[in-house]
């Protein structure tokens, strides 16, 4: 279990992490979400002691990372794939890490096999593609067979096969009871794997809940209405306080009024209904909605006025 309590970090007076608190439970994949610059990587660096918190605390199973004499046996971290010397072979990189923890050499071969780098084990890391570098970073994280995994944007640079492979691996590892924190700035990557979410923006906690709750919580819930009397119905809904967008012939997208209310309006006015479907916001939309005020490098959002059609289940495919 990872516990972060009231964590703060400033660089040169600029607040990057602002009183952040959350816990990450074992047995599930926890997605760590936020726009670029939200402080995800910094939080992870603070958890594993690479950076010192300005104040507050992060522990793993109640112990500070720096107090673990053989930390790689407890925590595996993939923070950036660039943490290997270009001139050193994959095997030697993993070997030197293993040696610091008293991990036998055989384990180096095991993790190389696991991440699919066995054939290039004795080639220099400088010759590796981005994806291979990412796999080597993952091998380093797994070298000590840790019960806690912290992965910062693990699918970066991976091809679709690699992305599927990482998703399955991460789900498998969680099913064994490990604690897994996976960061991403893309909802779609997380939607397929994470059942819990921690969402941050500008170093502050925006949400810590299950993925389903996160979507549920989003205010951007809409109702799709199809009716041959769409024009008349639209007037009724508007006067009842709803917001209506016309979408094609006889189709309305309604917000601010729920499906039951629309049904009642249609029934009273004796208008014919062909379809009346509540639409959940997609994870992507929920994410955009809840983080767009906290984007560090905010451009204008084109998302806010487009109708919401996608359902949560379709999100995984859109990248």
């Amino acid at each position: 279990m990872i516990e972060v309590r009231d964590l703060c970090k400033s660089y040169d007076g600029k607040v990057v992490i602002d009183h952040l608190s959350f816990t990450v439970q074992p047995g599930v994949v926890t997605g760590f979400l936020g726009p670029n610059g939200a402080g995800k990587s910094t939080t992870m660096r603070l958890i594993v002691g690479l950076d010192r918190p300005t104040s507050g605390d992060a522990t793993i199973g109640g112990i500070h990372y720096v107090e673990l004499p053989r930390p790689l046996r407890v925590v595996g971290a993939l923070l950036d794939a660039g943490a290997t010397h270009k001139g050193r072979t994959a095997y030697d990189h993993l070997l030197y890490l293993a040696q610091t923890q008293g991990i036998p050499r055989g384990r180096v071969d095991e993790v190389l096999e696991l991440v699919g780098l066995h054939d290039v084990a004795h080639e220099r890391a400088g010759t590796f593609s981005l994806g291979m570098g990412q796999r080597l970073g993952l091998a380093a994280a797994l070298i000590g067979d840790p019960s806690v995994l912290i992965l910062d944007e693990p699918v970066n640079g991976l091809d679709p096969d690699g992305i599927m492979w990482i998703r399955n691996l991460v789900i498998h590892l969680a099913s064994e009871g490990r604690t897994i924190l996976v960061s991403s700035h893309l909802m779609s990557e997380i939607a397929a794997t994470a059942s819990d979410l921690i969402v941050i923006g500008r170093g502050r906690l925006i949400a810590a809940c299950t993925t389903d709750e996160f979507v549920e919580r989003s205010s951007k819930r809409t109702v799709l209405v199809k009716s041959p009397d769409a024009v008349a119905l639209a007037d009724l809904i508007t006067s009842a306080g709803g917001h209506v967008e016309t979408h094609g012939e006889g189709e309305l997208i309604v917000t601010l009024v729920d499906a039951a209310h629309i049904g009642a309006l249609a029934f009273t006015a004796r208008l014919e209904l062909h379809e009346l479907t509540p639409q959940l916001a997609s994870l992507e939309d929920a994410f955009m909605e809840q983080t767009h005020t906290s984007t560090e490098f905010g451009g204008h959002s084109s998302n806010s006025d487009s109708p919401v059609f996608a359902t949560a289940s379709s999100v995984g495919a859109d990248r």
Partner: protein, 279 residues
């Protein structure tokens, strides 16, 4: 299949608390050094260049012997070991400085430092074992270079100044070359750990050894002599002499103590910064 490779996790993170494994850290630092082609090449170059320059310089001295003035001849006759080891030594000294800075600064430039510090989050044991492993390595390679230089330099010089390995002070000087090299290596690691940039660290230490140290000799009077005598390089180099020269303010072992003190202070600063700074 993942199940064969990943074992069910242990409930207790305290399993990780089984104490620091110094032997493992030493093996790890050794792996880091030997797995980089560039550092292996630099060590080989160090020996070759030291021996080569010794032969060249001693050979030139012998051929020019008749043009030398009496004082110089006397200096060489008093301490031929200083002549033999002195030439190649300037080269190997610079090589050790560059290698020492590189051994730590390349961890920063490549990003490996983060992997290293994740493995040894207390940081101090990593710096200390790195310094120790490098020091032992420089000592061994330094001895190979020193004995190699003596083996090739002494016969060349023999016609002018006969010197044998059993002569008083010679073994001390040969032994001192490796010892000084080892301490200078640690000194360089400290500089590298403080500066954290390869180019900056190397420029800094070379400027110090080649420019600043000789410049202090230009300071007139006893003040200049004393400043120069207590600089890490000039103090440490005394170890490579078979005997205390007439102009030396310190004995070889006093000089060695001075360079050790410099190194200890810099290592303390490096360690303090390493623990304090974000990696």
């Amino acid at each position: 299949m993942t199940a064969t490779v990943l074992h069910p996790p242990s409930e207790d993170v305290r399993l990780g608390r089984t104490g620091l494994d110094i032997g493992g850290l030493v093996r790890s630092e050794w792996t880091k050094i030997r797995s980089l082609r560039s550092s292996v090449a630099a060590f080989v170059l160090l020996v070759v260049a030291t021996v080569g320059f010794t032969a060249l310089f001693v050979g030139l001295t012998v051929t020019q012997w008749d043009q030398l003035d009496a004082v110089q001849k006397l200096t060489y006759q008093l301490d031929p070991t200083r002549l033999i080891l002195g030439a190649g030594f300037q080269i190997s000294q610079l090589a050790v400085c560059v290698l020492g800075v590189l051994v730590i600064s390349n961890e920063y430039s490549s990003g490996t430092i983060r992997a290293s510090l994740l493995a040894v989050p207390r940081r101090t044991p990593m710096l200390m074992t790195k310094a120790a492993v490098f020091a032992v390595l420089v000592f061994v390679v330094g001895e190979v270079a020193a004995f190699g230089a003596f083996a090739i330099g002494a016969p060349i010089l023999h016609s002018k100044v006969p010197v044998g390995i059993g002569d008083p002070g010679v073994l001390h000087a040969l032994f001192g070359a490796g010892l000084y090299g080892a301490v200078l290596g640690v000194f360089s690691i400290a500089i590298g750990a403080i500066v954290r940039h390869t180019a900056g660290g190397i420029t800094g230490i070379i400027a110090f050894v080649l420019v600043l140290a000789p410049l202090t000799q230009l300071i007139p009077g006893a003040i200049g002599d004393h400043i120069y005598a207590y600089l890490p390089t000039s103090a440490g180099q005394l170890m490579v002499n078979a005997r205390q020269g007439p102009k030396d303010l310190l004995t070889p072992w006093q000089g060695f103590g001075v360079v050790c003190l410099w190194t200890a202070v810099l290592m303390l600063v490096a360690n303090y910064l390493l623990r304090r700074r974000d990696a």
